[in-house]
């Protein structure tokens, strides 16, 4: 037998993922191929891109393994030869199937992951862990490409020149974070800044300049709705600044004593930041109606300014407690009406018109008042009509508050700022940023800061390199990095600069950027890395490191315990986000904008439907629920938003809560969740074919090939005249389409009751224009009927759920393969898939728990082989 050179090279380095052997095709198999297969699958016809016209199988070609595995699958499943072609006898078929299976098992072995570059998230976490500082890649960092359905596969993780340029650039930023360049101290002279009433930032109606003062009447929490700050002052350096501010109370009323807070806030920070979240530098009680000077020494960090906040103003636009703010606001409005019935009568007459807000609304009311002729005698602020009116106005929330505050500027209670002066810095204080930096640097350099010798450098670099490279550093490696650091110092740079250079280099090294370098079974350290990146998207922690070092991690008991430990770790959120986001396509959701004719959709709705699925999958994992739970659970997570989509009664709150469901119903499980229904539609209409293909790929584990490019896609008839089924039936009449569509269409149709945002529907909508308004009407009835290939009749999604629960191994295999692809970063080999089948069967017998499945996969040969 002639062995190709390549396989000799491969075998010299241990087990390769394919044997590298060449297998001559057995005589009886060859005869079978000639008789039943080659008419369509030879080099000339190559139907479905499959060519089986060989006299031997060259296992060194990864493509060959895939082709013969496909052939095995088709023969074993009875899908080939096609019904209308000559059929082999049962005996002929069995002997060919078993020959192929044996050869595939021997040659297409578990393993074969190509070098894996760190993904964006893995890179971020790896830099953070190596340097022990929180680290974020810049926004402009390139995203990873999806391959085999996930963005962490070896083949998909390409290293491109722009990415390498980013790595190099970021290496400096990262090294700076522990070893910053020396800073020149800036000298700032003490000065006094005089701030008049016109020199404050105003947003909405936070203040009003009148009679030479700046008047404030609101205590709303977001700064932009309740506070003012000087617009041309910010601390140039961290220090103590003296504030003098002249304040007076304006018509505070008998039982109200205004309190003013000075807060500190970054001058170009978020204008909608919460005042309650800022530290209070000073508190002044303003009792006098004549200006009084208040003084305070306040500490400001560099770039901060002084916010003036009327802490206890009666009026605010905060919708703090879910249902209390509306009656409170209405009550305050009625209070105004009692004090000024004419205002009430005028307001009643004015009502609310679109875009009424602040001054413009008040002016409209005042104009009505001026016209006169109002019936003030009969105006009773305590009558039901007026009360109802006040509640109706309260619905305008912010717009109403702004209008009321304009009114209060004339009547009080309010406070007046006459002038303000800031002098400073009186003295310097520790700059928060600089202090934090000092601590980080001290931690990186360890106890012996001040020394600059080689031994000291080694004490710092060796543990860093091991953390960065995720395995013990060889003497040669340490030597190289030490060399570059020390040489740099000899050339006249600081000791820290030498380390800085070594850190920069290590973060661009193949040892940092790539994992899975050694062939064959994973050693302890590579196993620790694969496990850790799988379940936490981060490098191994100290426990895994220890177990890898003492060689016990490969012990199945230890490995099992470690897997269960990581599944409880807070970082498992990374796995849940990343795996679920990609498997169930939740990552597509932000890009889908539902048709506004269907419903109004906003970011909070998006968050609700996404979180439902995330919390749902997290619970299945946390509680080790059986896999059937994915399909037919007795719970889900809802807030008012997705509850409304589902037509389920729920408290009027944005908080997600666990809700009990009946099993077997229209709601519950990934086949019914709004997130999945959205991800498998386009926001406008649904297409059973797309959902069917998606189900086969992601739930049933029986993916179909891409459609031939010559066939146009079936597009729904938006006029509503023809049903999608009519259109598809015509499509299916073509024999070349029918093969796949009898697999695709039935499960796809079973989901037709879910509209593009996952609401239940019995009819398709049609939109008609009536008096310039688009009105939705019921169109054709939804017809979700279908028959699966094995003859199972489906009336709607509930039958599909039942079918999947009864045949849970289909879903189990699908999910297990997805998990293994995600964990190993490779397309699965024949041997891998056989491993999966065995594991799924075993786990099913043991209760089918989701955690148990993950543990069993981690223990498998497939997971533990490169």
């Amino acid at each position: 037998m002639k062995i190709p050179l390549i396989s000799l090279i491969l075998s010299a380095f241990g087990v390769a993922f394919v044997s590298g052997e060449t297998t001559p095709i057995a005589k009886h198999v060859d005869a079978f191929l000639v008789e039943y297969c080659l008419d369509c699958h030879d080099a000339d016809s190559e139907k479905g891109d499959i060519n089986l016209d060989f006299i031997k199988i060259d296992w060194s070609d990864p493509h060959a393994a895939a082709v013969w595995a496909k052939a095995w699958e088709m023969l074993e499943g009875g899908e080939m030869p096609p019904e209308d072609k000559k059929q082999p006898s049962a005996g002929e078929l069995a002997s060919v199937v078993s020959w192929l299976e044996e050869e595939l098992l021997a040659n297409d072995r578990p393993g074969g992951t190509v070098l894996r570059r760190l993904s964006r998230q893995e890179y971020e976490n790896s830099v953070s862990d190596a340097l022990k500082v929180p680290f974020k890649v810049p926004q402009s960092f390139p995203a990873d490409m999806e391959h085999h359905g996930f963005d962490n596969s070896g083949e998909g993780l390409v290293l491109s020149p722009p990415l390498m340029a980013q790595y190099l650039e970021i290496a400096t930023v990262a090294a700076d974070s522990v070893l910053p360049p020396p800073v020149e101290q800036q000298r700032v002279k003490k000065e006094t800044k005089s701030i008049g009433p016109g020199d404050f930032t105003l947003n909405f109606t936070t203040g009003h300049e009148i009679d030479g003062v700046l008047r404030m009447a609101l205590s709303s929490d977001p700064l932009a709705r309740g506070s003012v700050w000087p617009n041309r002052f910010e601390a140039k350096v961290a220090g103590v600044y003296q504030v003098k501010i002249d304040l007076s109370a304006y018509e505070p009323g008998e039982d109200h004593t205004p309190v003013v807070h000075l807060l500190s806030h970054t001058s170009d920070g978020n204008n909608f930041a919460s005042a309650n979240g800022l530290s209070v530098s000073a508190e002044f009680t303003v009792t006098d109606d004549q200006p009084k000077t208040f003084r305070a020494d306040v500490e400001l960090q560099r770039g901060e300014t002084i916010v003036v906040h009327y802490e206890n103003a009666p009026l605010s636009s905060d919708q703090d407690k879910a249902r209390e703010w509306m009656p409170r606001l209405a009550g305050q409005l009625l209070e105004m009406f009692r004090a000024d019935p004419e205002l009430g009568a005028a307001w009643m007459k004015a009502g609310y018109q679109r875009s009424d807000r602040g001054w413009s609304w008040l002016e409209r009311i005042e104009a009505i008042r001026k016209e006169g002729g109002l019936d003030i005698e009969d105006f009773d602020p305590d009558s039901p009509e007026v009360k109802e009116f006040a509640m109706k106005m309260a619905r305008q929330s912010v717009n109403l508050v702004e209008t009321m505050s304009c009114y209060l500027f004339a009547t009080g209670p309010a406070i007046d700022i006459h002038r303000m002066a800031v002098t400073g810095p009186l003295r310097l204080i520790a700059d928060d940023d600089e202090e934090t930096q000092k601590r980080i640097t001290a931690r990186f350099l360890g106890e012996r800061a001040g020394r600059g010798d080689r031994e000291y450098a080694e004490a710092i670099l060796r543990p860093f390199l091991e953390k960065a490279f995720r395995r013990p550093a060889t003497e040669e490696q340490v030597e190289k990095y030490l060399e570059i650091a020390m040489k740099h110092q000899e050339e006249g740079h600081r000791f820290e600069d030498g380390l800085h250079l070594a850190v920069r280099a290590s973060l661009c090294s193949t040892n940092f950027l790539y994992r899975g370098q050694r062939e064959g079974p994973l050693d302890g350290f590579d196993l620790a890395s694969r496990l850790s990146y799988f379940l936490t998207s981060a490098p191994p922690d100290s426990t895994l490191w220890k177990l890898a070092s003492n060689g016990t991690l490969s012990d199945p008991k230890v490995l099992q315990a470690q897997t269960r430990r990581l599944l409880k770790h807070s970082r498992v959120k990374n796995f849940l986000d990343s795996f679920t986001g990609q498997w169930l396509d939740l990552r597509l959701l932000p890009d889908i904008m539902p048709d506004t004719r269907l419903l109004n959709w906003n970011d909070k709705d998006l968050k609700a439907v996404t979180e439902e699925t995330e919390l749902f999958v997290a619970e299945i994992l946390r509680k080790n629920h059986p896999l059937e739970t994915f399909i037919d659970p007795d719970f889900t997570y809802l807030n008012k938003r997705n509850a409304k989509l589902y037509g389920i009664k729920h408290p009027n709150s944005d908080k997600m809560t666990r809700v009990d469901l009946k099993r077997g119903g229209r709601r519950g499980g990934i086949l019914t969740q709004a997130s999945v229904m959205m991800a498998t539609a386009n926001g406008v209409d649904t297409q059973p074919v797309l959902r069917g293909v998606w189900l086969l790929e992601n739930v049933l584990g029986d993916p179909v090939p891409e459609p031939p490019s010559s066939v146009p896609a079936v597009e729904p008839d938006t006029s509503g005249a023809k049903s999608i089924r009519e259109l598809l039936d015509r499509h299916k009449a073509d024999a070349s389409c029918a093969g796949c569509h009898k697999k695709i269409d039935p499960p796809g149709f079973a989901l037709e009751n879910f509209d593009p945002v996952g609401r239940w529907r019995d009819h398709y909508p049609v939109y008609k224009k009536v008096d310039d308004k688009v009105v939705r009407k019921d169109g054709l009835a939804v017809d979700a009927l279908g028959t699966l290939e094995d003859g199972t009749e489906l009336r709607d999604v509930t039958d599909l759920k039942l079918y999947l629960v009864e045949n849970i191994e289909l879903f189990g295999n699908c999910l297990a393969e997805k998990l293994l692809i995600y964990a190993t970063g490779r397309e699965l080999s024949f041997g891998d898939r056989k491993e999966v089948e065995r594991i799924v069967e075993e786990v099913q017998e043991e209760g089918n728990g989701f955690q148990d499945l993950i543990v069993a996969l981690v223990l498998s040969e497939s997971f533990r082989t490169k």
Partner: protein, 419 residues
């Protein structure tokens, strides 16, 4: 190194007397046979304009200047106005960014398509700026659909453009020492390549070719560092006007810095987002009656529209100042920088009152294009010949030598209008 001020030397070469007595700035003249645009500036106002007050009532060359564009009267031969253009893309605040991306979903923006092609001709491939805090707005997006952050602090922008000697020394030091870091990791990678399987070795070739590419890039960066930073006559105010109510003041300074960036050839692609939040502006000593965002939802109330237009006029006035600067500043050939700079001005918001993103206010200035007219495009006509805003982008790109066949839904050009 002789830190000769190349900006000065180039400005010595220009013939100064030309500047003064032109009213309008420049008479209408024939257009050069071939338009060659070297720079692109895109400017978008987040809240847009009251378009009935922005679009001229008449069209053609003798159009009557609209109310809000009145501050540009003396510049009318320097720009073209387009009404009826948009991308046929989704509506809403969130979709404002389709102004430069052409679609509702994230994707590369017009300015970044250009920057990818011509970015390596200057120190900064592109600059993104805004005035103070950008609020919710985003304008420039990478190929991957990631929004690029914009600089809104004048002192930071100034520092970036005209970095101090110590900043440059640090950059030079990092680039130089990176060389030895790359030598080390290449060594390691070569050793690794000898140990791994053939497939992995192939995978490592990505690494080798990427590092080689980066080494070339480092050479280029070092060359830019040798070019002395232009010394410019510009004094920043002693405070950064980043407070929201000072954003108009900030806008003026950012425009000046943008002109300096182009004059010193620090970059050839700039995008500027003119932000709009709830701030209450003071215009000519008078506080407006409501916040800027509130005014944009004017509900067709004439008083609010008048105030909204006051803010719009302030924006346009500053924009006019920017165009005049680009006219006064000359390139190496002594020609106005404006003549080789395409300046797109407008908004992703067609009507802020209803959050409608169609019929965008669009103005194209400079670039040597044929100007002086208001082109009213009949959007309702919806034939295949009805141009989209993307067609205008395609014309600009063609004039810049950036070969793109289509821009989202647009696949023709508007050469008939501007050449």
């Amino acid at each position: 190194m002789n830190r000769r001020h190349f900006l000065r030397s180039s400005s010595l070469a220009l013939s100064l007397p030309l500047l003064e007595s032109f009213r309008p700035l420049r008479a209408a003249e024939g257009v050069a046979a071939t338009v060659s645009v070297k720079r692109l500036v895109t400017i978008g106002t987040y809240l847009g304009f009251h378009t009935p007050s922005w679009f001229p009532k008449t069209h053609g060359r003798d159009y009557e200047m609209s109310k809000v564009l009145a501050p540009l009267e003396d510049l009318r031969e320097e720009f073209s106005i387009f009404s009826g253009l948009d991308h046929r893309a989704p509506n809403g605040h969130k979709n404002w960014s389709n102004f430069l991306t052409g679609k509702g979903t994230p994707g590369i923006s017009f300015d970044q398509i250009v920057a990818r092609q011509i970015g390596d001709q200057s120190r900064f491939a592109s600059l993104q700026v805004t005035c103070g805090s950008p609020g919710a707005g985003q304008m420039s997006y990478t190929k991957e659909g990631i929004a690029l952050p914009a600089i809104g602090r004048p002192s930071v922008l100034y520092g970036k453009l005209f970095s101090s000697d110590s900043d440059k020394a640090r950059m030079e030091y990092i680039l130089e020492s990176n060389g030895s870091a790359l030598d080390l990791v290449l060594d390691e990678a070569r050793a690794l390549k000898r140990e791994v399987s053939a497939r992995d070795a192939e995978k490592l070739d990505e690494y080798f070719s990427s590092v080689r590419d980066v080494e070339k890039k480092v050479q280029k960066q070092r060359k830019w560092l040798e070019v002395p930073t232009a010394k410019v006559d510009f004094t920043l105010p002693d405070y950064d006007p980043v407070a929201p109510d000072l954003s108009l003041e900030c806008e003026g300074i950012i425009y000046e810095l943008m002109a300096l960036a182009l004059e010193t050839d620090s970059t050839r692609v700039i995008s500027m987002l003119v932000p709009g939040q709830g701030q209450v502006f003071t215009i000519e000593g008078e506080k407006l009656s409501a916040g800027y965002h509130g005014l944009s939802h004017h509900g067709n109330d004439s008083d609010k529209i008048a105030e909204f237009n006051q803010v719009g006029t302030e924006h346009v006035t500053r924009f006019g100042g920017f165009l005049r600067l680009l006219y006064e500043k000359k390139d190496a050939e002594g020609q106005p920088i404006l003549d080789s700079t395409a300046v797109l001005y407008g908004s992703g918001m067609g009507d802020a009152n209803t959050h409608n993103n169609s019929r965008l206010p669009i103005l194209l200035a400079g670039g040597g294009f044929k100007h002086g007219a208001h082109h009213a495009i009949d959007r309702d006509e919806e034939t295949s010949a009805t141009p989209l805003l993307g067609d205008l982008y395609l014309s600009i790109m063609q004039a810049m030598g950036v070969e793109e066949e289509r821009f989202v839904k647009a696949k023709r050009n508007m050469n008939d209008f501007v050449l």
